[in-house]
């Protein structure tokens, strides 16, 4: 009788022994796993696939808009492309990718063996491919996918008085179903994060010693729990309107289309912070490590995060200034207020770097890129929040440029920073630093070439969501530059993919703590065993690993 034994924590390449297992066993292991690290990896893989799909859709739009009066795609396909691009990038790329980092790092950062509810965690993950499939199935429907933009305002997304849909077919209905599935997935994930942090922290880790990234994930989770059900209810009403004859949004029957906009943006604005807060957390992990200083104002950062979340639920109607149905002054004021805690964070980061011993690793470069891009995104946000100015900026490419500066800085710079920083912990191997620096330059040029011209044509009056424009309008040059910029971003993304694929096999062995970093995840081996920790250091500050590795600094108070 032969017995096959293997230890589950033998990840490829670490140590001398590499256990090979039959493909079927590996496959079953992955699809049935409840291990937070494997689920995190699967989140990252799923999000990358959807990023490629969303990126191709963006490419279709950039080709179409590159020259005036282009007829590369029909207007319907163009409308479907920007709708699906927005939906996929927000719900199927950014949120799962942040969940990937959260799944990997939150249990490690608080010193837990796994998430609070491992099975719920697996369920939340598997709803992502399910929701994505439901969304993409709409490409097989007779009238194609949803073409009414990711906001899906009635009356466009609704039915007319006589009951015919303005967007025929079931594209919108499948879209509603997909968003509901993805929303429930995020809600389950958020519950899991909160309970994990509340219940499973290592001894000695008080709430004010929890690493910043984990803090931002908790605040993000609370925002998700309080905003996602709102849009689920709103979309349920929209679905009932489309399919069962509900008249919620039809003024001729006593309904109110503005009501939908309130519901959507009550979710939609917190959603921005759901996407950007954890990225701020990632950056706040990286900048102190590569400045060789503790984060300046750890508590101030946490309170700034909490204030952003609280204020973020009071500003939704700044998306609706031009409806004329809201208090412009109030929402302009609360929107301005948000720049205060955001400014606090900017000072946290810059003051951390001040007089620090800065190391320009790839992770640090991307983190700095995030700071710069986010600053541009934030400042253009102040323009939009100015009630009077917004009437001329609303629905122009200026707005498109603004939120791409915010979200692309979050999505690409912040996440790349996070992966360059944490890839050694996840795989036991380093990503190639030279490729990382080339990639940073490509991405930095690409993002600015793509979105800066959009800001200028937007100021010149180019409306968003238009499939083409005439030559006399003079938007040709800006759009052409923007389309070339897209190529640079695509190259940067492909370079990153190659870097990951090659480094997984051939990268330099990293060791447990290649960056001499501070937070608890660096106390275990790289990659961590399935139970995460053999031993925990004493946790006496928010930087337990630093305290352990540099007792002389702790003793002299020179921390």
């Amino acid at each position: 009788m032969t017995t096959h034994t293997f230890t589950p924590d033998q990840s490829p390449g670490v140590g001398a022994v590499r256990v090979t297992r039959p493909y079927r066993a590996v496959f079953l292991d992955w699809i049935t796993t409840t291990d937070h690290k494997k689920i995190g990896t699967m989140y990252a893989i799923a999000a990358s696939v959807f990023f490629l799909i969303g990126g191709i859709l963006a490419g279709i739009m950039r080709i179409q808009l590159a020259i005036p009066e282009n007829d590369f795609v029909t207007r319907d396909v163009f409308n479907q492309s920007f709708t699906m691009h927005g939906t996929i990038m927000v719900f199927l790329f950014l949120m799962p990718m942040l969940a990937a980092l959260g799944n990997w790092m939150v249990p490690l950062q608080v010193g837990a063996a796994d998430m609070a509810y491992p099975k719920v965690n697996a369920l939340a993950f598997w709803m992502i491919p399910l929701g994505g499939t439901v969304l993409l199935l709409s490409y097989l429907m007779p009238n194609g996918p949803h073409a009414g933009s990711w906001v899906s305002y009635p009356p466009l997304a609704d039915v007319s008085e006589s009951g015919t849909a303005f967007l025929p077919g079931h594209g919108v209905d499948l879209w509603i179903g997909a968003i509901a599935i993805l929303g429930i997935s995020s809600t389950l994930g958020s519950i899991n994060f909160i309970v994990t942090v509340y219940k499973m922290r290592a001894p000695g880790m008080t709430m004010l010693r929890v690493p910043i990234f984990t803090w931002t994930v908790i605040v993000q989770s609370f925002l998700a729990i309080f905003s996602l059900p709102v849009v689920t209810a709103g979309l349920a009403m929209l679905w009932i309107s489309r399919n069962l004859g509900g008249r919620f949004f039809d003024p001729s029957a006593g309904g109110d289309p503005i009501l939908y906009q309130h519901i959507f943006w009550y979710f939609g604005h917190p959603e921005v912070y759901i996407l950007v807060l954890p990225v701020m957390g990632v950056v706040s992990e990286i900048i102190p490590v590569f400045s060789r200083k503790p984060l300046f104002g750890y508590k101030a950062f946490i309170f700034a995060t909490l204030s952003i979340a609280a204020l973020g639920t009071m500003v939704w109607a700044h998306h609706m200034f031009t409806t004329g149905a809201i208090q412009v002054h109030f929402f302009a004021f609360t929107s301005f207020l948000i720049s205060v805690p955001t400014g606090v964070k900017m000072f946290n980061w810059t003051a951390t770097m001040y007089k620090g011993k800065i190391e320009f690793t790839s992770a640090m470069l991307f983190a700095l890129g995030f700071l710069m891009m986010f600053l541009i995104g934030g400042i253009t946000g102040v323009f939009n929040a100015t009630g009077g100015l917004d009437f001329s900026l609303h629905d122009t490419y200026f707005v498109v440029s603004h939120f791409h500066y915010v979200l692309v800085s979050a999505a690409l710079f912040g996440l790349f920073a996070g992966f360059y920083y944490w890839f050694p912990k996840m795989s036991g191997r380093m990503l190639n630093e030279t490729v990382g620096k080339v990639q940073f330059v490509l991405l930095f040029l690409g993002v600015n070439f793509t979105f800066l011209p959009q800001m200028l044509v937007g100021l010149d009056g180019m409306p968003r969501r238009i499939p083409t424009y005439t030559e006399e309008e003079g938007w040709g040059l800006g759009n052409l530059i923007s389309s070339y910029g897209y190529i640079l971003i695509a190259l940067a993304a492909i370079l990153f993919l190659l870097n990951v694929l090659l480094s997984m096999r051939r990268g330099k062995i990293s060791g447990d703590n290649p960056w001499d970093a501070y937070a608890l995840e660096w106390a275990t081996s790289s990659p961590p065993p399935y139970y995460n920790f053999d031993r925990l250091p004493l946790i006496r500050s928010e930087r337990p690993v630093f305290d352990e590795n540099h007792p002389e600094a702790v003793a002299t108070g020179d921390r």
């Binding site: 509810y117 899991n192 219940k199 009932i240 919620f248 039809d250 006593g254 309130h262």
Partner: protein
């Protein structure tokens, strides 16, 4: 049998426990349920907020002429649900004292009352004169042709239906709990699932009170 002394908590020199310990308060299951219920609160808040928004938009025709929601049956349903909240709390009370008889009978009563509530709600749906779009058999006597329940009907039935779906889910959950209790799964040391189910049921009850006041009292 020797008495086992409670082991003293091992502490380090600054007084922090060296073991992962239950800090008391919510168990993990109950805490997750409570956070989940917070998201459910937001779901119903959106529906009810929409109701009051549309009520304000149509201040002079809400409810539209000819509609007078009748409250006696819903009031009976309210009483049913309130009593069932008491009975599921009785089940939690019983399991804390390891009283199997009271536990199973209290759970059975809870399931039965839930089913009675749903029967009432289905009856309410069946006798409706109007639906989302308009009158079922043309406008009733004395109501002008142009007046349609439209937004009012949509909100009314959507709120009732979503609440009904939650009650139905609760009946299934409580039946499962009853089944587990009959199989002796719960004890005073292990009843987190039952406690979570009781919180869900109380939540459904509280939402109904608000729905009842909104749809039948305030209108």
């Amino acid at each position: 049998m020797t008495a086992t002394a409670t082991p003293a908590t091992v502490q380090d020199n600054e007084g922090f426990p060296l073991h992962q310990e239950d800090e008391g308060g919510f168990s993990m299951t109950v805490m997750g349920t409570v956070i989940f219920l917070a998201s459910e609160v937001m779901f119903f808040a959106t529906l009810l907020g929409s109701y009051y928004t549309l009520r304000a938009v149509n201040a002079d025709s809400w409810p539209p002429e000819g509609i007078e929601p009748e409250w006696p049956l819903p009031l009976l349903m309210t009483a049913t649900l309130l009593v069932s909240s008491v009975s599921i709390h009785g089940a939690v009370w019983a399991v804390r004292r390891d009283n199997r008889t009271v536990l199973t009978s209290a759970l059975a009563i809870t399931v039965l009352l839930g089913v009675m509530f749903m029967v009432g709600e289905i009856f309410e749906f069946s006798i409706a004169e109007f639906d989302f779009e308009g009158w079922k058999d043309g406008p009733p006597k004395g109501v002008a042709e142009g007046i349609v329940p439209g937004a009012y009907g949509s909100m009314f039935w959507t709120i009732l239906a979503f609440h009904g779906l939650h009650v139905s889910g609760g009946i299934i959950l409580n039946s499962y709990i009853l089944f587990s209790a009959l199989n002796g799964r719960f004890s005073s040391k292990n009843y987190q699932v039952l406690e979570s189910a009781s919180y869900y049921w109380h939540f459904v009850d509280v939402v109904w009170l608000i729905v009842f006041v909104t749809l039948y009292v305030v209108k």
